[in-house]
């Protein structure tokens, strides 16, 4: 086996320096693959936006606990929304909007999930966490 490898190297005129370069390139390729793989399995985070502007980007873990109250103007009426972060779950706990669609959206627990309050133009989105196993969009 070793003789075969040596014969191959001699046949194509490789030197030890060439081998070092090849090992370096392969090492870099494996290293970058691991880097990108790890970056795709980041922790779950919660993005809360209003009018398309991200107001909060919160990394979630089992101990996360936060209550966020936001308000928006809806045809002259003040709409208040209470967003509850409970560990790796997020939901609209309360809203004074007329349609209550945001509250009915339920509890967000997985990347790709989104809940929106149209009257106050607030969206809550979960991102990150195992891209391969989350949905890209909900219909």
């Amino acid at each position: 086996m070793v003789d075969n490898v040596r014969a191959f190297w001699r046949k194509y005129g490789f030197r030890w320096g060439d081998m070092a370069i090849i090992v370096l390139v392969i090492g870099l390729a494996i290293g970058s693959a691991l880097f990108f793989w790890q970056s795709k399995t980041d922790a779950l985070s919660c993005q809360i936006s209003q009018d398309g502007q991200v107001l909060y980007d919160i990394t979630l873990d089992a101990s996360s606990q936060q209550t966020i109250t936001l308000s928006g103007d809806y045809d002259g009426y003040l709409v208040e929304n209470t967003i509850q972060i409970d560990g790796e779950s997020v939901y609209f706990a309360h809203a004074t909007c007329p349609d209550q669609v945001c509250v009915h959206a339920g509890v967000l627990t997985r990347g790709g999930q989104i809940a929106v309050c149209l009257p106050s133009r607030i969206s809550v989105k979960l991102v990150g966490s195992d891209v391969e196993n989350q949905v890209d969009a909900m219909a």
């Binding site: 349609d99 009915h104 339920g106 133009r121 969009a137």
Partner: protein, 346 residues
């Protein structure tokens, strides 16, 4: 020489692994819903330009098809009291299309339900159950056959008979989806399929390659009507659009009864369907938009027969918690609704 070629090959392999597309994301409000876009391109400037063009195009379209703006073609037609109104070629084409969808579905989808929609006011401060006599009066104005069109040379005219009013809200987001694809393709010289994901309310556009998945496909979740942020079925797709109509999207409840926004043009009331939602998968998003509404109004049995007859791809979620895709969708579908109490297939 060969050793240098080998090294160069390995280097190319490494560099190709590193190549990443630039992405432009945006979230904005239009057509009474939240819209978000993810557009991928070789450079950031190209992705940003595509994303901006899509957003501008949708905002412009909203003004064109709005029935609340005083300067739109639709407002002019609705206020003309039966007189002929000259409209743009694009508005004319859209009205012809919607009329054809209404005829195809025998009125289950009807763009002249505006008077009914206004009476119910679902999703607004004024929502409530209309008086029976008001509903009856409104019903007499509903009917796609009341839409009359004519072309004289390069001029296009529309009029509405019997007091009918047009509302293109039922296909607005689908039209926006189609227009966005056309815009992106035009900017890419019509040669390349844009890599992008558009979420226009419940209208999803998946196009080109998803750079975040090995398969290159996009995963679209079909919402659980009882908990809409959670998927009960996922579809792995590309180069198509996915549109859902469901009774959970906009509604109010009174005395324990849910009154939703999918009105039956024959009764004037929210459709008494045995479905919770219908999702249509079709390359033409405006068509899918109209069909999802029509299939919901038809109810399961008639809707399944219609899909079979028309070769439509759809997913039905029934009142008794069944998730029923049409046969051709099984290959790209994954059922994930077991924990929520749903059963799959029929």
């Amino acid at each position: 020489m060969k050793k240098y070629l080998t090294c160069a090959g390995l280097l190319c392999l490494f560099l190709s692994g590193c190549s990443q597309q630039s992405v432009a994301t945006s979230e904005f409000y239009a057509m009474n819903t939240v819209m978000s876009t993810q557009v991928y391109a070789d450079s950031q400037s190209e992705a940003d330009a595509l994303s901006a063009a899509i957003e501008v195009g949708i905002n412009t379209l909203e003004q064109t098809i709005s029935r609340t703006r005083s300067d739109s073609d639709i407002t002019a037609i609705n206020q003309a009291q039966g007189a002929w109104v000259e409209v743009s070629e694009s508005t004319y084409a859209v009205i012809l299309q919607t009329k054809s969808y209404a005829a195809l579905t025998d009125g289950a989808f009807d763009p002249t339900v505006a008077t009914l929609t206004d009476l119910w006011g679902i999703g607004t401060e004024a929502e409530g159950i209309p008086a029976a006599e008001d509903l009856q009066a409104a019903l007499e104005t509903v009917g796609y056959w009341n839409i009359k069109t004519k072309q004289e040379g390069e001029s296009y005219f529309v009029c509405l008979e019997n007091g009918a009013k047009l509302d293109l809200g039922g296909i607005g987001k689908g039209l926006a989806a189609n227009q966005s694809l056309t815009t992106a393709q035009a900017l890419l010289d019509d040669q390349t399929t844009p890599d992008m994901l558009l979420m226009l309310g419940g209208n999803i556009v998946v196009s080109g390659t998803n750079p975040n998945r090995e398969s290159g496909l996009w995963t679209v979740g079909i919402a659980d009507p009882n908990s809409p942020a959670t998927a009960i079925l996922t579809l792995s797709l590309t180069d198509t659009t996915v549109v859902t109509s469901g009774d959970y999207e906009r509604y109010f409840e009174q005395d324990g009864v849910r009154y939703h926004h999918l009105l039956d043009p024959t009764t004037g009331y929210p459709a008494q369907s045995d479905l919770q939602s219908v999702t249509v998968v079709h390359a033409d998003s405006m068509f899918a938009d109209a069909m999802s509404t029509a299939l919901y109004v038809m109810g399961l049995e008639q809707a399944q027969a219609f899909c079979m007859e028309q070769g439509l791809q759809a997913v039905f979620v029934t009142d008794d918690m069944q998730v029923l895709p049409t046969a051709s969708l099984y290959d790209c579908a994954t059922f994930v609704g077991e924990d929520a109490g749903y059963t799959y297939g029929g």
